[in-house]
Amino acid sequence: MSVSDDELVQQDAWSQLRRHTAARIALGRCGNAAPTAALLDFRLGHAAARDAVHVPLDFEELQRAVQKLTALSVLQLHSDARDRAEYLRRPDLGAKPDQASAALLRRAATADACDLALVAADGLSAAALTQNLLPLLQILLPKIRRAGLRLAPFCLVAQGRVAIGDHVGAALNTRLTAVLIGERPGLSSHNSLGVYLTHNARPGVGNDKRNCISNIRPEGLSHEAAAEKLMYLIGESLRRGVSGVALKDTQSVDAGGRLRD
């Protein structure tokens, strides 16, 4: 004799509260445990996040696509971290180019300073790049061109951390460096792209000199909104000659202390 789900799962009587939050509330229970459906849903989120970290990105395919879209020359770089296992254990190695990439950057250098280098790195989520890079560039590039900014060659970095952009900035002599990088995946956001903008990015620059735009993905901050925000930061940073804390956005809470809801 079989029993139905309704008889096995003790439902929580406050499921209407789910509309207020993305948190996993009112899951119901079987004994003390989460019901099977909730268990597997969690596991699915974790699997997507794990795959985002570990499934390698097809950089050649991405290079072709970026080249076609932007008509920029695209440099394919690799950090000093040989593989994912080393990348995860040694953040210092992911923050600098390997020998061949450093040589490639030196050859690409020009005498004149560029306004902006765009650097895309896999970071902790390959899915973030495959799903967000092209749509974002599609919106961003025309804005950059309209602003009359001089672009350095586009850099695609495998096993890269944010600070690898400082080596690019130094080698290509850029005023601004924007690193577009896969963020640490969350359980329900395995494909978030982050952008770190640094004025005069050179090795050794502190994290307080970076401005970050986070959670860029279709379900989070839209590509359009992210591009607009980045263009605002680029404009302000070039105008004032700073980035990071000195450029920080103003408050989002009013003087009465009321919360955003």
Binding site: Q10, A13, W14, I25, R89, R90, R184
Partner: protein, 460 residues
Amino acid sequence: MAYKRSIGVHTYIFDTLADLLARATPLRSGDVLAGVAARSELERVAAQMVLADLPLREIIATDLIPAEIDEVTRLIGETHDAAAFRRIPATTVGDFRNWLLLDTTTGAILRDIARGITPEMAAAVSKIMRNQDLIAVAAKIRNVTAFRTTIGQAGRLAVRLQPNDPVDSPRGIAAQIVDGLCYGCGDAVIGINPAGDNPAQVAALLHMLDEIRRQYDIPTQSCVLTHVTTTIEAIERGVPVDLVFQSIGGSQAVNDSFGVNISLLREAHDAAGQLRRGTVGDNCMYFETGQGSALSADAHHGLDQQTIEVRAYGLARAFSPLLVNTVVGFIGPEYLYDGKQITRAGLEDHFCGKLLGLPMGVDVCYTNHAEADQDDMDNLLTLLGVAGCNFVMGVAGADDVMLNYQSTSFHDAMYLRSVLGLRPAPEFERWLIDMGLFNGDLRPMDGPRRAEKLLGMKSL
């Protein structure tokens, strides 16, 4: 003075006590990253053998970070109770382990001599102990603290209800609080990590938590985990502050990186203490720590990450905190690579904190780029329950949607209490029954009207 040990034809040499402690530490990625880990398994055991023969007095006499440049070192020296130390009938680290494990070395004795144990002594002995030893000794020690609930008694397990929201939405937070309370969580603290450090927003959250607590007369304490200076400012402005939160580390330099020092912590402690908001006790500090924070701030002075972590506990105990929480798997795989390393670190932190007399809780957690999953968390959670951990985290569905990591869930807390026969804090237990949320056997009451009262929460 260098330390030496020959094994076969090879002689292992350890230049300093810091070097010896680091090489004796069970493998973890953070020590490899720092370049202080043993270079082979044999070297690790050689270091442990040297360490086992090392007199405890030599550890006390050696400053791992010079006192002239480090106020944590000075505090550890000044607060060491030499009389309590003399009551420990062991001269070496190896004998210390043996003595800790004796049946006759009871929890009461360990509590009495706690102030005679320095952080470095605790770290040293933990390095030669097995996981089983760390559990067995910790299980003997009960460090009880109180504010509106009494936390840490034998047979009880408290839970921090952690209702974080990515934009600090009051409704989003309140919805998670209802969920957590219905699952019997929140007796350690209802504590929010705010999305921003903005004082007005922090004040609004503190008012909201206080209102919820008063609306239902919940015997618990609230906390917004913001920087200590923001909390001091809130106290000055008359905002209802129960607990002062701060992240701390085991060197002056790492605390500098957190923007705190001993005098600032003292100021905060005194300010909160003067409010006298506790009803059954006056422990008003909530500290968080975690292995790896010193290295990530480049403030580790060549120490291994576990030793410097225990020094943070030496700092914490100067403030008689209500809660000390080691956030063990949050920092990432470059410090603790996988489930095995996270498990070991969690047990070490819990044991060392308990030994020093602290009310230890553990955020049993992991990030998605670590080699760990729910099974590893189940294991560590269960081990900590057996070890007599004071409190763990409760996060809806184990998924913190603000901090983007996985901790333990409200369900996990019920599981642990159920399989080990652990009960909530006594004041909170009565409230759960009076509210009709749980029956006298501490099983959740069933039925559609169970949460009816809580659904009238003003913030919803």
